[in-house]
């Protein structure tokens, strides 16, 4: 079973450890992990920013790079949503690529979704002593239906206790370019999320998308919280929290 890992541009640049955690989990689950060296970005910024041509070029590039893989997996709900939900729309009118886009979409899964739904894997090596709270990132939740899978896996992490926040499904305010273009509004939305995280008293907040992590961590630190950790679900599951 060849599993192509989409590292994602943010993980590549900002937090490579998430990529290693994903490799580790997939290998433990019995996959042969392939990381195409030429991969860059899935095209989400262009797609969400109105640059359809730019997004389509990157979509074609990614599809070609992962064509030899049985599965395409990413530790990010929004990148998987891009491939799984939006590529077929983006390339629908492209005679040579629409079928390839649909095939790639059908083979693409978010990491926890893949581990649980496709492999039934739950032998997670992670250990975390303390309470965490889980934030459902929007694309994973509402585009892909990722909700129970990460919680199922987190329940297997020894020492870990999960406390839910008041509204785990409400947006953190990231929204890609929105978070820079409308930074004040994004920070205001993030503040509501951070207040809910603080209310749980959890030592860490866990989620599945690095963009949202940067947004939440950035706001936590700015509001003076130096201690609450912001962790990717893959890091916790793989026991690679640093």
């Amino acid at each position: 079973m060849r599993v192509g890992l989409v590292v994602t541009c943010l993980v590549d640049l900002m937090r490579p450890g998430i990529g290693w955690a994903a490799v580790d989990l997939l290998e433990r689950a019995g996959a042969e992990v392939v990381v195409p060296a030429t991969q860059t970005c899935c095209g989400q910024p262009g797609w969400n920013g109105g640059d359809r041509a730019g997004a389509a070029a990157l979509a074609r590039k990614l599809i070609a790079e992962f064509e030899g893989c049985d599965w395409i997996v990413a530790p990010s709900g929004s990148c998987v949503g891009m491939i799984r939900v939006h590529y077929p729309t983006l390339l629908a009118d492209d005679a040579t690529w629409s079928e390839r886009a649909r095939s790639a979409a059908a083979r693409t899964r978010e990491l926890t979704q893949f581990l649980v739904d496709e492999l039934g894997f739950d032998a997670v090596p992670g250990r975390h002593d303390g309470t965490v709270t889980y934030h459902d990132c929007c694309a994973g939740l509402r585009e892909l239906g990722v909700k129970s899978q990460p919680r199922r896996l987190l329940a297997k992490v020894s020492g870990l206790e999960l406390t839910e926040m008041a509204e785990p499904e409400s947006c953190c305010g990231f929204g890609g370019a929105f978070s820079v273009k409308f930074g004040e509004i994004a920070a205001h939305i993030a503040e509501r999320k951070c207040a809910q995280i603080a209310e749980t008293g959890a030592g860490a907040v866990v989620m599945g998308d690095l963009g949202c992590m940067l947004n939440v961590e950035g706001r936590l630190r700015r509001r003076g919280d130096a201690s609450t950790r912001v962790l990717h679900v893959a890091e916790v599951l793989a026991g690679r929290e640093d």
């Binding site: 509402r142 820079v180 509004i185």
Partner: protein, 473 residues
Amino acid sequence: MRVASIEFKARAGEKLADATLQRNLVRVKGKFAAKRAAAMAGFHDFEGLREAGREIRQRTLDDLDVWLGIFERSATAGGATVLWARTPDDINRLVLEIAFRHGVRKIVKSKSMVSEESSLDRAIEAAGLEVIETDLGEYILQINGYEPPSHLVGPALHKSKEEVADLFHRRHKTARKEGIEDLCLEARAVLREHYLTADMGISGGNFFVAETGSVVLVTNEGNATLATGLPRVHVAISGIEKIVPTLEDAATLLRLLPRSATGQPISNYVDVLTGVRGEGEGGVEHMYYILVDAGRTDVLASEVREALRCIRCGACMNHCPVYQSIGGHPYGWVYPGPIGSILTPMYAGLENAHPLPAASTLCNQCGVVCPVKIPLPDLQRKLRERTFERRLAPWSERAALRLWSWVAARPALYGASMRVVARLLRIWGGRERRIRRLPPGGGWTAGRDLPAPDGRTFREQYAARRRAGGKPR
């Protein structure tokens, strides 16, 4: 109404800093979202109902011209007159013609968002007639110098009861009331007088029923019943998209609308009004329908046509994280929130409103609650594409997107660039590993730090591991 949507960002900034508004927004959010959730929990198959609602609305829109023709025949047969407004100005002209024809001096009005598109009240006043809004929220806005509405369902939701108490005290010249009930009683006493002395009533129209030629009005205050029942003349104004084929279709949508809007199983009042009074019946002497296009046929022919399914429940804004932070006014025109971010650019011009579809996290909290399943984020994306094509946004944004796509299409260049960026951010972040100020990302660091990266990209680490004899991949 003036279109101020281009100033979205500046106005949003003011609203973020407005402590009173922020308190009111927290109150509103708790109220609507929680009540809707409770109503959903008690309903056996809300998803099935949403699908039925979507289907009814889409089926009607697919043959809108046919249904409009049927409506016109049914309504005319019932003794009503059907008039067509191509532009917002036509609405005002038609209303004034009707008023002059019937010697009208005073008009009472129940809620009509469409009439805000043409600033009808001010046109009526400019013609020397009197007009009184009877929906409590609209009345509050009217006596506050025609303040713009901030929400589809509760146009004055941005106001606290203290602000309303001050306003009533000032405008009615009465003793200042404290409680909500006393304020309502005071408004009621003022409005009752007007219902009885008005010659004409204007209403909106939640639905126009083709098979019967009826208008359906949904209210909680009963003001529409009085405003359309007591005066001699009734004029119902709404968009051409508000047609539904049958009363049964209207009934299905009535199960969706109040639940989505306020969490009520049904609103306190539902009026179904059909034609003029016959021998020995109640009802009005003269009934007019004004069916408004004002950009709707253009939307119908466009890629965002699904927006016309909207039944104006307000759920999308109640669940929108952006709306929850800034309220409705920054959207700058009649319709705020996610649905406003589509309708405003379409009705008032994308060049005047392109910040609206951009001001969204695309979280889709709106799309999953919309009772007629409008894919609002997808529509926002389509308008972003038009914004990009027409070069309406600042050139720097466009250049950044282009540059990103260009570099990301060249793996070697991309790899080298990211190596440099990773190191720069690492250094900038210092020992604490956090960036408090980042000149090119000032929008980010105004309210948040940026956690700094490790300094080596994943692809570098991965390549190094392969060179060091790690498992080949």
